[in-house]
Symmetry: C2
Subunit: 208 residues, 2 copies
């Protein structure tokens, strides 16, 4: 019976616990059983420990925003990569999300800069090209004399479609457009690729 | 290189993100990779969603405390089970943690009340009987004319030892002491037992 009750928002310890379990269960990859275990940890851990997590969440939302150049996330005006004078601004790797930047950075195989689209073109979800940062990318190509654009969208139908759309938009500019080598199986997600696969894919990038 | 940097508290998006990843990774059963994914979710989700989680954590720590009768957790003076007039106060099931109460309640096989010890006797960890709520249990036995104590400590060396200690303490009182039937494999943890096993173990409880 309590199993049913938890589902309709009731918990024997009170509504605050039911709410916490729901909030944890809303996180990606966290099921109800794990959410309950996390809530029980919060219930029994030291006050400071729980508050540190709550405060870290609040602080991230208060201080982190988009880099004004590449739309990666940062706590400053420009992200760490755009600020780094050693990074080559004439080579721009185009990705869907900030997470993809982190994943590619962990491969330590790229010395250029990034451009975060903020998603991929997906007519079924109502996401057209105007919702992505494609205009800003075109401005960067003009302004920063970008020599090469590396397409690193996910190797899915929509990711490939987005890359194709951008390559068409940039067709009139003097910029070399490449894409990640297909070391990555089509239909998978960039986030789960390992360092070696990503490093290989960067090295073996092909003419678009 | 970023992999190393994340470990010493640095993150390309800034220290707030590094802190959030550490806080998530401190939760039980959450590894660094999952912690990074959760942090990225917080980074990209709506402000209200993130704040709801932070607030749920804060609220749980602010409102939940121990039941003054059984030491289960509650947002009131007495827990939901102790408040329920249909529960039999003369039968008390003794468990180590509030989580164990939830787990047993999900089996819906018990109509008595609980007593949460707050752990188990563990000399190696410096936890002696005086750190548990054994004195309060003895007072309940006297005051509430408890007829039966069901030992539901974990079926481990320390859990069994704790049950044995309590049964010795209560030897001079007119109370029947039983324990959960060993449907549960010795050495495992109560939290992971399924409903059926728990219901069987309650039904088949044995003389201690």
């Amino acid at each position: 019976m309590p199993a049913r009750r938890i589902e309709d928002g009731h918990h024997p310890f009170g509504p605050a616990v039911a709410r916490l379990i729901s909030e944890f269960a809303n996180l990606p990859g966290i099921g109800r059983k794990t959410a309950e275990r996390l809530a029980h940890h919060i219930l029994t851990c030291r006050e400071e420990e729980a508050m540190a997590l709550a405060e870290a969440i609040r602080e991230v939302k208060a201080t982190i925003h988009q880099c004004k150049i590449c739309f990666n996330l940062t706590d400053q005006e420009e992200c760490e990569i755009c600020r780094d004078p050693r990074r080559d601004r004439s080579v721009v790797c185009v990705v869907e999300t900030p997470k993809d930047v982190s994943v590619l950075e962990q491969a330590s195989a790229f010395g250029g800069t990034y451009h975060v689209l903020g998603g991929r073109i997906s007519p079924l979800d109502g996401i057209g090209p105007e919702k992505l940062t494609i205009d800003a990318l075109v401005r960067r190509v003009k302004r920063d004399k970008v020599k090469e654009i590396i397409m690193a969208t996910n190797p899915t139908l929509e990711g490939d479609g987005t890359a194709l759309f951008i390559s068409n938009v940039l067709a009139n500019y003097e910029v070399n457009i490449t894409r990640l080598a297909r070391g990555i199986a089509t239909g998978s997600v960039l986030e789960f690729a390992n360092k070696e696969m990503l490093a290989d894919a960067l090295r073996g990038r092909q003419q678009f």
